[in-house]
Protein backbone atom coordinates (compact mmCIF):
# COMPACT_ATOMS: atom_id res chain seq x y z
CA UNK A 1 0.00 0.00 0.00
CA UNK A 2 2.76 2.39 0.99
CA UNK A 3 4.71 1.69 -2.24
CA UNK A 4 1.73 2.59 -4.43
CA UNK A 5 1.02 5.83 -2.64
CA UNK A 6 4.74 6.76 -2.76
CA UNK A 7 4.72 6.25 -6.49
CA UNK A 8 1.56 8.28 -6.81
CA UNK A 9 3.12 11.04 -4.76
CA UNK A 10 6.22 11.04 -6.93
CA UNK A 11 4.08 11.18 -10.07
CA UNK A 12 2.15 14.10 -8.63
CA UNK A 13 5.31 16.02 -7.76
CA UNK A 14 6.78 15.28 -11.20
CA UNK A 15 3.61 16.53 -12.88
CA UNK A 16 3.73 19.74 -10.83
CA UNK A 17 7.37 20.25 -11.82
CA UNK A 18 6.55 19.69 -15.50
CA UNK A 19 3.73 22.20 -15.30
CA UNK A 20 6.06 24.69 -13.68
CA UNK A 21 8.58 24.23 -16.47
CA UNK A 22 5.92 24.77 -19.11
CA UNK A 23 4.70 27.87 -17.33
CA UNK A 24 8.18 29.33 -17.23
CA UNK A 25 8.56 28.68 -20.89
CA UNK A 26 5.21 30.16 -21.81
CA UNK A 27 6.11 33.32 -19.94
CA UNK A 28 9.57 33.55 -21.47
CA UNK A 29 10.05 35.05 -24.88
CA UNK A 30 9.78 32.47 -27.57
CA UNK A 31 10.29 28.73 -27.57
CA UNK A 32 13.61 26.97 -27.29
CA UNK A 33 13.96 24.29 -29.92
CA UNK A 34 16.79 21.77 -29.93
CA UNK A 35 17.71 20.94 -33.49
CA UNK A 36 19.72 17.79 -32.93
CA UNK A 37 21.88 16.07 -31.86
CA UNK A 38 19.69 13.36 -33.37
CA UNK A 39 18.13 15.00 -36.39
CA UNK A 40 17.88 14.13 -40.06
CA UNK A 41 19.19 17.50 -41.21
CA UNK A 42 22.37 17.94 -39.22
CA UNK A 43 25.02 15.79 -40.91
CA UNK A 44 25.71 13.86 -37.81
CA UNK A 45 25.47 14.84 -34.19
CA UNK A 46 25.38 18.61 -34.35
CA UNK A 47 23.15 20.37 -31.89
CA UNK A 48 21.74 23.81 -32.53
CA UNK A 49 19.86 25.42 -29.69
CA UNK A 50 17.49 27.87 -31.30
CA UNK A 51 15.17 30.29 -29.58
CA UNK A 52 12.13 30.74 -31.76
CA UNK A 53 9.53 33.46 -31.94
CA UNK A 54 6.81 31.58 -33.80
CA UNK A 55 8.70 30.32 -36.82
CA UNK A 56 11.46 32.90 -36.74
CA UNK A 57 14.78 32.26 -35.06
CA UNK A 58 15.68 34.92 -32.51
CA UNK A 59 19.07 33.45 -31.68
CA UNK A 60 20.81 30.21 -32.47
CA UNK A 61 23.88 28.61 -30.98
CA UNK A 62 25.60 25.52 -32.36
CA UNK A 63 26.90 23.14 -29.71
CA UNK A 64 29.63 20.94 -31.09
CA UNK A 65 31.56 18.12 -29.58
CA UNK A 66 29.10 15.22 -29.58
CA UNK A 67 31.43 13.39 -31.91
CA UNK A 68 34.78 14.40 -30.47
CA UNK A 69 37.17 11.49 -30.83
CA UNK A 70 40.32 13.07 -29.48
CA UNK A 71 42.35 13.08 -32.69
CA UNK A 72 44.95 15.57 -31.60
CA UNK A 73 45.62 13.58 -28.43
CA UNK A 74 45.71 10.32 -30.37
CA UNK A 75 48.35 11.64 -32.72
CA UNK A 76 50.72 12.17 -29.81
CA UNK A 77 51.01 8.40 -29.31
CA UNK A 78 50.91 7.10 -32.88
CA UNK A 79 53.63 6.82 -35.49
CA UNK A 80 53.35 8.67 -38.78
CA UNK A 81 51.88 5.76 -40.81
CA UNK A 82 49.41 5.10 -38.01
CA UNK A 83 48.39 8.77 -37.92
CA UNK A 84 47.85 8.64 -41.68
CA UNK A 85 45.41 5.79 -41.15
CA UNK A 86 43.56 7.64 -38.42
CA UNK A 87 43.16 11.01 -40.14
CA UNK A 88 41.30 9.34 -43.03
CA UNK A 89 38.36 9.34 -40.72
CA UNK A 90 38.16 13.04 -39.98
CA UNK A 91 36.26 14.03 -43.10
CA UNK A 92 35.12 10.63 -44.11
CA UNK A 93 33.56 11.48 -47.46
CA UNK A 94 36.68 12.81 -49.14
CA UNK A 95 39.07 10.83 -47.00
CA UNK A 96 42.14 10.88 -49.20
CA UNK A 97 42.08 14.65 -48.93
CA UNK A 98 42.68 14.43 -45.18
CA UNK A 99 45.90 12.50 -45.52
CA UNK A 100 47.53 14.86 -47.96
CA UNK A 101 48.19 17.99 -45.85
CA UNK A 102 49.57 15.85 -43.03
CA UNK A 103 51.94 13.98 -45.32
CA UNK A 104 52.96 17.24 -47.00
CA UNK A 105 53.78 18.78 -43.61
CA UNK A 106 55.89 15.76 -42.66
CA UNK A 107 57.66 15.88 -46.03
CA UNK A 108 58.35 19.56 -45.49
CA UNK A 109 60.00 18.75 -42.17
CA UNK A 110 62.05 15.96 -43.73
CA UNK A 111 62.88 18.20 -46.69
CA UNK A 112 62.10 15.57 -49.29
CA UNK A 113 59.88 15.87 -52.28
CA UNK A 114 57.75 13.15 -53.79
CA UNK A 115 58.62 12.17 -57.36
CA UNK A 116 56.43 13.68 -60.14
CA UNK A 117 54.49 10.47 -60.76
CA UNK A 118 53.54 10.28 -57.12
CA UNK A 119 52.48 13.92 -57.12
CA UNK A 120 50.27 13.25 -60.13
CA UNK A 121 48.67 10.23 -58.55
CA UNK A 122 48.12 12.14 -55.34
CA UNK A 123 46.39 14.97 -57.16
CA UNK A 124 44.22 12.56 -59.16
CA UNK A 125 43.03 10.82 -56.02
CA UNK A 126 42.54 14.16 -54.28
CA UNK A 127 40.27 15.40 -57.05
CA UNK A 128 38.42 12.07 -57.17
CA UNK A 129 37.78 12.50 -53.47
CA UNK A 130 36.48 15.99 -54.12
CA UNK A 131 34.11 14.67 -56.79
CA UNK A 132 32.79 11.95 -54.50
CA UNK A 133 32.30 14.49 -51.71
CA UNK A 134 30.53 17.17 -53.71
CA UNK A 135 28.25 14.83 -55.65
CA UNK A 136 26.91 13.72 -52.30
CA UNK A 137 26.44 17.37 -51.39
CA UNK A 138 24.31 17.92 -54.49
CA UNK A 139 22.08 14.98 -53.67
CA UNK A 140 21.90 15.88 -50.02
CA UNK A 141 20.82 19.40 -50.92
CA UNK A 142 17.72 17.94 -52.51
CA UNK A 143 16.85 15.86 -49.46
CA UNK A 144 17.15 18.76 -47.04
CA UNK A 145 14.78 20.72 -49.22
CA UNK A 146 12.32 17.88 -49.62
CA UNK A 147 13.18 16.36 -53.01
CA UNK A 148 13.83 12.71 -52.28
CA UNK A 149 15.00 11.52 -55.70
CA UNK A 150 18.23 13.45 -56.45
CA UNK A 151 20.07 11.82 -53.56
CA UNK A 152 19.62 8.39 -55.11
CA UNK A 153 21.07 9.61 -58.36
CA UNK A 154 23.96 11.06 -56.38
CA UNK A 155 24.70 7.75 -54.66
CA UNK A 156 24.26 5.85 -57.89
CA UNK A 157 26.66 7.95 -59.89
CA UNK A 158 29.31 8.43 -57.25
CA UNK A 159 29.65 4.66 -56.96
CA UNK A 160 31.73 4.83 -60.11
CA UNK A 161 34.19 7.22 -58.49
CA UNK A 162 34.34 5.10 -55.34
CA UNK A 163 34.94 1.98 -57.40
CA UNK A 164 37.90 3.66 -59.04
CA UNK A 165 39.32 4.72 -55.69
CA UNK A 166 38.88 1.14 -54.52
CA UNK A 167 40.62 -0.33 -57.58
CA UNK A 168 43.67 1.80 -56.91
CA UNK A 169 43.89 1.87 -53.14
CA UNK A 170 41.86 -1.03 -51.80
CA UNK A 171 39.42 1.04 -49.77
CA UNK A 172 36.36 2.90 -51.00
CA UNK A 173 36.07 5.29 -48.12
CA UNK A 174 39.40 5.07 -46.30
CA UNK A 175 42.14 4.76 -48.89
CA UNK A 176 45.14 5.10 -46.57
CA UNK A 177 47.29 5.47 -49.65
CA UNK A 178 49.59 8.42 -49.05
CA UNK A 179 53.04 7.82 -47.59
CA UNK A 180 55.85 10.15 -46.63
CA UNK A 181 57.83 10.42 -49.83
CA UNK A 182 55.17 9.25 -52.28
CA UNK A 183 52.23 6.90 -52.52
CA UNK A 184 51.90 3.33 -51.40
CA UNK A 185 51.52 1.50 -54.68
CA UNK A 186 51.23 2.18 -58.38
CA UNK A 187 48.04 2.22 -60.41
CA UNK A 188 46.70 -1.14 -61.64
CA UNK A 189 46.54 -1.86 -65.37
CA UNK A 190 43.46 -0.45 -67.08
CA UNK A 191 42.75 2.07 -64.34
CA UNK A 192 43.22 5.15 -66.49
CA UNK A 193 40.68 4.04 -69.10
CA UNK A 194 38.10 3.05 -66.48
CA UNK A 195 38.50 6.28 -64.62
CA UNK A 196 37.88 8.27 -67.78
CA UNK A 197 34.57 6.42 -68.20
CA UNK A 198 33.53 7.14 -64.64
CA UNK A 199 34.25 10.83 -65.24
CA UNK A 200 31.61 10.94 -67.96
CA UNK A 201 29.10 9.41 -65.55
CA UNK A 202 29.82 12.15 -63.02
CA UNK A 203 29.49 14.96 -65.55
CA UNK A 204 26.22 13.44 -66.79
CA UNK A 205 25.03 13.49 -63.20
CA UNK A 206 25.95 17.17 -62.94
CA UNK A 207 23.82 17.93 -65.97
CA UNK A 208 20.97 15.90 -64.50
CA UNK A 209 21.09 17.75 -61.21
CA UNK A 210 21.25 21.08 -63.00
CA UNK A 211 17.98 20.29 -64.79
CA UNK A 212 16.25 18.51 -61.93
CA UNK A 213 17.18 20.72 -59.01
CA UNK A 214 18.77 23.99 -60.08
CA UNK A 215 16.27 24.56 -62.86
CA UNK A 216 13.35 23.94 -60.53
CA UNK A 217 11.50 27.13 -59.64
CA UNK A 218 10.67 25.86 -56.17
CA UNK A 219 14.37 25.26 -55.47
CA UNK A 220 15.19 28.75 -56.67
CA UNK A 221 12.49 30.20 -54.42
CA UNK A 222 13.88 28.29 -51.44
CA UNK A 223 17.54 29.17 -51.93
CA UNK A 224 17.83 32.55 -53.62
CA UNK A 225 18.39 35.31 -51.12
CA UNK A 226 18.56 32.87 -48.21
CA UNK A 227 21.56 33.03 -45.91
CA UNK A 228 23.43 35.83 -47.63
CA UNK A 229 27.03 36.11 -46.44
CA UNK A 230 28.77 39.36 -47.41
CA UNK A 231 32.39 38.86 -48.37
CA UNK A 232 33.90 40.83 -45.50
CA UNK A 233 31.77 39.07 -42.87
CA UNK A 234 32.69 35.70 -44.31
CA UNK A 235 36.39 36.50 -44.31
CA UNK A 236 36.27 37.81 -40.74
CA UNK A 237 34.62 34.56 -39.55
CA UNK A 238 37.24 32.45 -41.30
CA UNK A 239 35.05 30.82 -43.91
CA UNK A 240 36.88 28.92 -46.59
CA UNK A 241 36.23 26.82 -49.62
CA UNK A 242 33.12 27.17 -51.72
CA UNK A 243 31.40 29.17 -48.97
CA UNK A 244 33.71 32.14 -49.43
CA UNK A 245 34.02 31.71 -53.18
CA UNK A 246 30.25 32.04 -53.42
CA UNK A 247 30.50 35.48 -51.83
CA UNK A 248 32.76 36.67 -54.61
CA UNK A 249 36.17 36.20 -52.98
CA UNK A 250 38.66 34.71 -55.41
CA UNK A 251 40.59 32.45 -53.02
CA UNK A 252 41.69 28.93 -53.85
CA UNK A 253 44.69 27.27 -52.24
CA UNK A 254 45.13 24.91 -55.15
CA UNK A 255 46.16 27.86 -57.26
CA UNK A 256 47.75 30.06 -54.62
CA UNK A 257 49.72 27.47 -52.59
CA UNK A 258 50.11 24.28 -54.62
CA UNK A 259 53.09 22.77 -52.80
CA UNK A 260 53.85 19.14 -53.55
CA UNK A 261 50.88 18.53 -55.84
CA UNK A 262 50.29 18.75 -59.55
CA UNK A 263 47.61 21.45 -59.86
CA UNK A 264 49.97 23.91 -61.49
CA UNK A 265 50.55 21.44 -64.33
CA UNK A 266 46.99 21.53 -65.62
CA UNK A 267 44.71 24.19 -67.02
CA UNK A 268 41.70 24.89 -64.83
CA UNK A 269 39.75 27.81 -63.37
CA UNK A 270 38.38 28.94 -60.05
CA UNK A 271 34.61 29.47 -59.89
CA UNK A 272 33.12 32.35 -57.90
CA UNK A 273 29.65 33.80 -57.63
CA UNK A 274 28.79 37.32 -56.50
CA UNK A 275 25.55 36.64 -54.59
CA UNK A 276 26.67 34.86 -51.45
CA UNK A 277 23.33 33.16 -50.84
CA UNK A 278 22.51 29.47 -50.57
CA UNK A 279 21.94 29.20 -54.31
CA UNK A 280 25.38 30.66 -55.01
CA UNK A 281 27.11 28.17 -52.68
CA UNK A 282 25.35 25.24 -54.28
CA UNK A 283 26.05 26.51 -57.77
CA UNK A 284 29.76 27.02 -57.04
CA UNK A 285 30.04 23.43 -55.81
CA UNK A 286 28.26 22.14 -58.91
CA UNK A 287 30.80 23.91 -61.10
CA UNK A 288 33.63 22.61 -58.92
CA UNK A 289 32.59 19.02 -59.61
CA UNK A 290 32.72 19.66 -63.34
CA UNK A 291 36.07 21.42 -62.97
CA UNK A 292 37.46 18.48 -60.99
CA UNK A 293 36.43 16.14 -63.78
CA UNK A 294 38.34 18.33 -66.24
CA UNK A 295 41.40 18.37 -63.97
CA UNK A 296 41.38 14.59 -63.59
CA UNK A 297 41.00 14.13 -67.33
CA UNK A 298 44.05 16.27 -68.02
CA UNK A 299 46.08 14.62 -65.28
CA UNK A 300 45.22 11.15 -66.54
CA UNK A 301 46.54 12.06 -69.95
CA UNK A 302 49.83 13.42 -68.65
CA UNK A 303 51.02 11.05 -65.90
CA UNK A 304 54.82 10.96 -66.12
CA UNK A 305 56.60 7.64 -65.91
CA UNK A 306 58.88 7.01 -62.99
CA UNK A 307 59.10 5.85 -59.40
CA UNK A 308 56.29 6.44 -56.95
CA UNK A 309 58.38 6.69 -53.81
CA UNK A 310 61.33 8.91 -52.95
CA UNK A 311 64.30 7.55 -51.08
CA UNK A 312 63.13 7.32 -47.48
CA UNK A 313 64.55 5.13 -44.72
CA UNK A 314 62.63 2.09 -43.57
CA UNK A 315 61.97 3.49 -40.13
CA UNK A 316 60.89 7.09 -40.58
CA UNK A 317 62.11 9.56 -37.99
CA UNK A 318 61.07 13.09 -38.80
CA UNK A 319 63.67 15.69 -37.76
CA UNK A 320 62.86 18.41 -35.25
CA UNK A 321 60.81 21.37 -36.39
CA UNK A 322 57.36 22.72 -37.05
CA UNK A 323 55.45 22.90 -40.30
CA UNK A 324 51.97 24.00 -41.33
CA UNK A 325 50.55 22.99 -44.69
CA UNK A 326 46.99 23.95 -45.71
CA UNK A 327 45.23 22.48 -48.74
CA UNK A 328 41.98 23.18 -50.52
CA UNK A 329 39.86 20.29 -49.29
CA UNK A 330 36.31 19.78 -50.55
CA UNK A 331 34.94 21.37 -47.38
CA UNK A 332 37.34 24.29 -47.31
CA UNK A 333 40.83 24.90 -46.07
CA UNK A 334 42.25 22.06 -44.03
CA UNK A 335 45.69 22.29 -42.51
CA UNK A 336 47.92 20.33 -40.16
CA UNK A 337 50.39 22.08 -37.89
CA UNK A 338 52.91 19.34 -37.13
CA UNK A 339 55.42 19.79 -34.31
CA UNK A 340 58.11 17.16 -34.29
CA UNK A 341 60.81 16.51 -31.72
CA UNK A 342 62.72 14.09 -33.88
CA UNK A 343 60.99 10.88 -32.91
CA UNK A 344 58.92 8.18 -34.53
CA UNK A 345 55.77 9.97 -33.51
CA UNK A 346 54.79 13.61 -33.92
CA UNK A 347 55.00 15.61 -30.73
CA UNK A 348 51.84 17.58 -31.39
CA UNK A 349 49.52 17.90 -34.34
CA UNK A 350 47.00 20.71 -34.51
CA UNK A 351 44.30 20.03 -37.07
CA UNK A 352 42.70 23.09 -38.60
CA UNK A 353 39.52 21.65 -40.02
CA UNK A 354 37.36 23.56 -42.44
CA UNK A 355 33.91 22.84 -41.01
CA UNK A 356 34.77 23.96 -37.49
CA UNK A 357 35.56 27.45 -38.75
CA UNK A 358 32.67 27.39 -41.21
CA UNK A 359 30.23 26.72 -38.38
CA UNK A 360 31.40 29.77 -36.45
CA UNK A 361 29.27 31.96 -38.68
CA UNK A 362 26.11 30.05 -37.71
CA UNK A 363 24.94 32.31 -34.83
CA UNK A 364 25.33 35.44 -36.97
CA UNK A 365 23.79 33.86 -40.05
CA UNK A 366 20.81 32.13 -38.48
CA UNK A 367 19.48 35.17 -36.64
CA UNK A 368 16.15 36.26 -38.03
CA UNK A 369 15.63 33.34 -40.42
CA UNK A 370 12.71 30.95 -40.52
CA UNK A 371 13.04 27.36 -39.33
CA UNK A 372 12.94 25.91 -42.87
CA UNK A 373 15.64 28.40 -43.86
CA UNK A 374 17.81 27.15 -41.01
CA UNK A 375 17.83 23.79 -42.71
CA UNK A 376 18.57 25.31 -46.10
CA UNK A 377 21.44 27.35 -44.69
CA UNK A 378 22.96 24.38 -42.88
CA UNK A 379 22.64 22.30 -46.02
CA UNK A 380 24.33 24.96 -48.15
CA UNK A 381 27.15 25.64 -45.67
CA UNK A 382 27.94 21.93 -45.87
CA UNK A 383 29.88 20.50 -43.01
CA UNK A 384 30.77 17.00 -41.91
CA UNK A 385 30.58 16.31 -38.20
CA UNK A 386 33.83 14.41 -38.15
CA UNK A 387 35.44 17.53 -39.54
CA UNK A 388 33.89 19.80 -36.90
CA UNK A 389 34.53 17.65 -33.89
CA UNK A 390 37.61 15.62 -34.85
Amino acid sequence: MTAVSDRRQLAYVAAQAADARVNIELEAEGMTLNIGPQHPATHGTLRIVARLDGEQVVEAEPIMGYMHRGYEKLTEVRTYPQVTTLVNRIDWLGSFCNEVPFILAAEQLMEIEAPPRAQHIRTILFELGRMAHLTLFLGDLGVQLGAVTPVFYAFRDREHVLNQIESATGGRFHPNFDRIGGVKDDLPAGWIAETKQSLTKVTDFCDLIEDLLFGNEIFAARTRGVGVIPADVGLSYGLSGANIRASGVDWDLRRDAPCGMAWDKVDWQVWTHPDGDAYARSWVRLQEVRESAKIVEQLLDTIPAGPIMAKVPRIIKVPEGEAYVPTENPLGEMGYYVVSKGGLEPFRVKIRSASFNNMSIAPWLLKGTYVPDVITILASLYFILGDIDR
Binding site: T79, L86, P188, A189, I303, P304, G306, P307
Partner: protein, 166 residues
Protein backbone atom coordinates in the same frame (compact mmCIF):
# COMPACT_ATOMS: atom_id res chain seq x y z
CA UNK B 1 11.05 32.48 -68.60
CA UNK B 2 12.48 29.48 -70.43
CA UNK B 3 10.29 27.77 -73.00
CA UNK B 4 9.66 24.70 -70.87
CA UNK B 5 9.38 25.66 -67.19
CA UNK B 6 11.90 23.93 -64.96
CA UNK B 7 9.20 22.17 -62.97
CA UNK B 8 7.94 20.39 -66.07
CA UNK B 9 11.48 19.44 -67.11
CA UNK B 10 12.06 17.92 -63.68
CA UNK B 11 8.98 15.74 -64.08
CA UNK B 12 10.29 14.62 -67.46
CA UNK B 13 13.62 13.60 -65.95
CA UNK B 14 12.10 11.43 -63.23
CA UNK B 15 9.72 9.83 -65.71
CA UNK B 16 12.66 9.01 -67.98
CA UNK B 17 14.40 7.33 -65.06
CA UNK B 18 11.32 5.20 -64.42
CA UNK B 19 11.32 4.07 -68.04
CA UNK B 20 15.06 3.43 -67.90
CA UNK B 21 14.70 1.23 -64.82
CA UNK B 22 11.81 -0.71 -66.34
CA UNK B 23 13.70 -1.31 -69.59
CA UNK B 24 17.28 -1.72 -68.40
CA UNK B 25 16.78 -3.00 -64.89
CA UNK B 26 17.77 -1.34 -61.66
CA UNK B 27 21.24 -0.08 -60.84
CA UNK B 28 21.15 -1.88 -57.52
CA UNK B 29 22.44 -5.40 -57.01
CA UNK B 30 19.91 -7.76 -55.44
CA UNK B 31 22.11 -9.14 -52.69
CA UNK B 32 22.09 -12.04 -51.64
CA UNK B 33 20.66 -13.40 -54.89
CA UNK B 34 23.36 -11.68 -56.95
CA UNK B 35 26.71 -10.50 -55.67
CA UNK B 36 29.11 -7.90 -57.00
CA UNK B 37 32.76 -8.77 -57.48
CA UNK B 38 34.99 -6.45 -55.47
CA UNK B 39 38.22 -5.29 -57.10
CA UNK B 40 41.30 -7.49 -56.57
CA UNK B 41 42.91 -4.89 -54.32
CA UNK B 42 39.86 -4.54 -52.08
CA UNK B 43 40.73 -4.89 -48.44
CA UNK B 44 38.39 -7.65 -47.32
CA UNK B 45 40.32 -9.91 -44.97
CA UNK B 46 43.99 -10.65 -44.22
CA UNK B 47 45.49 -14.04 -45.01
CA UNK B 48 48.59 -15.51 -43.37
CA UNK B 49 51.25 -17.58 -45.16
CA UNK B 50 52.65 -19.32 -42.15
CA UNK B 51 55.86 -20.62 -43.69
CA UNK B 52 57.14 -17.11 -44.28
CA UNK B 53 56.35 -15.79 -40.82
CA UNK B 54 59.33 -15.52 -38.44
CA UNK B 55 57.45 -13.95 -35.47
CA UNK B 56 59.38 -10.72 -35.86
CA UNK B 57 56.41 -8.95 -34.23
CA UNK B 58 56.62 -5.98 -36.63
CA UNK B 59 52.97 -6.27 -37.69
CA UNK B 60 51.81 -6.59 -34.12
CA UNK B 61 53.78 -3.52 -33.09
CA UNK B 62 52.73 -1.30 -36.01
CA UNK B 63 49.02 -2.08 -35.80
CA UNK B 64 47.22 1.12 -34.68
CA UNK B 65 44.67 -0.94 -32.78
CA UNK B 66 46.98 -3.66 -31.45
CA UNK B 67 44.65 -6.31 -32.74
CA UNK B 68 47.28 -8.91 -33.71
CA UNK B 69 48.34 -11.44 -31.06
CA UNK B 70 51.52 -13.38 -31.74
CA UNK B 71 53.21 -16.04 -29.63
CA UNK B 72 56.11 -18.11 -30.80
CA UNK B 73 59.04 -20.08 -29.54
CA UNK B 74 62.46 -20.96 -30.83
CA UNK B 75 63.32 -24.49 -31.87
CA UNK B 76 66.32 -26.07 -33.45
CA UNK B 77 66.06 -27.12 -37.09
CA UNK B 78 68.45 -29.47 -38.83
CA UNK B 79 71.45 -27.72 -40.42
CA UNK B 80 71.24 -26.68 -44.05
CA UNK B 81 74.29 -28.72 -45.05
CA UNK B 82 75.55 -31.89 -43.50
CA UNK B 83 78.14 -31.20 -40.80
CA UNK B 84 76.91 -27.71 -40.03
CA UNK B 85 75.42 -26.15 -36.89
CA UNK B 86 71.72 -26.65 -36.14
CA UNK B 87 69.81 -23.45 -36.95
CA UNK B 88 67.38 -21.88 -34.55
CA UNK B 89 64.08 -21.03 -36.18
CA UNK B 90 61.01 -19.33 -34.82
CA UNK B 91 57.93 -21.45 -34.65
CA UNK B 92 54.55 -19.80 -34.47
CA UNK B 93 52.34 -20.90 -31.60
CA UNK B 94 49.63 -18.35 -31.96
CA UNK B 95 48.80 -15.75 -34.61
CA UNK B 96 45.39 -14.21 -34.08
CA UNK B 97 43.89 -11.19 -35.77
CA UNK B 98 40.88 -9.70 -34.01
CA UNK B 99 38.63 -8.45 -36.79
CA UNK B 100 36.31 -6.73 -34.34
CA UNK B 101 39.15 -4.26 -33.72
CA UNK B 102 40.86 -4.28 -37.10
CA UNK B 103 40.65 -0.97 -38.98
CA UNK B 104 41.52 -2.55 -42.33
CA UNK B 105 44.31 -0.01 -42.75
CA UNK B 106 46.88 -2.47 -44.18
CA UNK B 107 49.89 -1.32 -42.17
CA UNK B 108 50.60 -4.87 -41.02
CA UNK B 109 50.57 -6.20 -44.59
CA UNK B 110 52.82 -3.37 -45.69
CA UNK B 111 55.49 -3.58 -42.97
CA UNK B 112 55.89 -7.37 -43.05
CA UNK B 113 59.46 -7.86 -44.30
CA UNK B 114 58.98 -11.54 -45.20
CA UNK B 115 55.73 -11.27 -47.21
CA UNK B 116 53.69 -13.46 -44.93
CA UNK B 117 50.48 -11.36 -44.92
CA UNK B 118 48.25 -10.78 -47.92
CA UNK B 119 44.99 -8.96 -48.59
CA UNK B 120 42.04 -10.81 -50.08
CA UNK B 121 38.74 -9.27 -51.21
CA UNK B 122 36.59 -11.77 -49.23
CA UNK B 123 34.01 -9.97 -47.11
CA UNK B 124 31.39 -12.50 -46.08
CA UNK B 125 32.62 -13.57 -42.69
CA UNK B 126 30.29 -11.88 -40.26
CA UNK B 127 29.44 -13.85 -37.14
CA UNK B 128 26.55 -13.73 -34.66
CA UNK B 129 29.02 -13.73 -31.76
CA UNK B 130 31.75 -11.10 -31.56
CA UNK B 131 34.22 -13.57 -30.08
CA UNK B 132 34.10 -15.57 -33.31
CA UNK B 133 35.61 -12.60 -35.13
CA UNK B 134 39.01 -13.54 -33.68
CA UNK B 135 40.54 -15.50 -36.57
CA UNK B 136 43.25 -17.90 -35.48
CA UNK B 137 46.23 -19.27 -37.37
CA UNK B 138 44.35 -22.03 -39.17
CA UNK B 139 41.57 -19.79 -40.36
CA UNK B 140 44.02 -17.14 -41.52
CA UNK B 141 45.84 -19.84 -43.45
CA UNK B 142 42.58 -20.88 -45.10
CA UNK B 143 42.08 -17.34 -46.39
CA UNK B 144 45.27 -17.79 -48.46
CA UNK B 145 43.24 -19.73 -51.03
CA UNK B 146 41.22 -16.63 -51.80
CA UNK B 147 44.17 -14.28 -52.32
CA UNK B 148 44.10 -13.05 -55.95
CA UNK B 149 47.30 -12.82 -57.97
CA UNK B 150 48.87 -9.39 -58.11
CA UNK B 151 47.80 -7.69 -61.31
CA UNK B 152 50.08 -5.76 -63.60
CA UNK B 153 50.59 -2.01 -63.40
CA UNK B 154 49.77 0.88 -65.69
CA UNK B 155 52.22 1.95 -68.34
CA UNK B 156 55.09 4.01 -66.98
CA UNK B 157 55.25 2.25 -63.64
CA UNK B 158 58.67 1.62 -62.21
CA UNK B 159 57.71 -1.34 -60.05
CA UNK B 160 57.00 -4.90 -61.11
CA UNK B 161 54.12 -7.00 -59.83
CA UNK B 162 55.08 -9.38 -57.04
CA UNK B 163 54.14 -13.06 -56.87
CA UNK B 164 51.87 -14.58 -54.25
CA UNK B 165 53.46 -17.66 -52.63
CA UNK B 166 51.04 -20.57 -52.98
Amino acid sequence: MPLVPGVVKGLGITFKEVVKTVVNGAETVQYPHEKEEPTPRARGVIALHEENCTSCMLCSRECPDWCIYIEGHKTLAPPRRAGGKPRSVNKLDRFDIDYSLCMYCGICVEVCPFEALFWTPEYEYSEPKIADLLHDKTRLGQWMETVPDFEGYEAGADVKAKKVPR
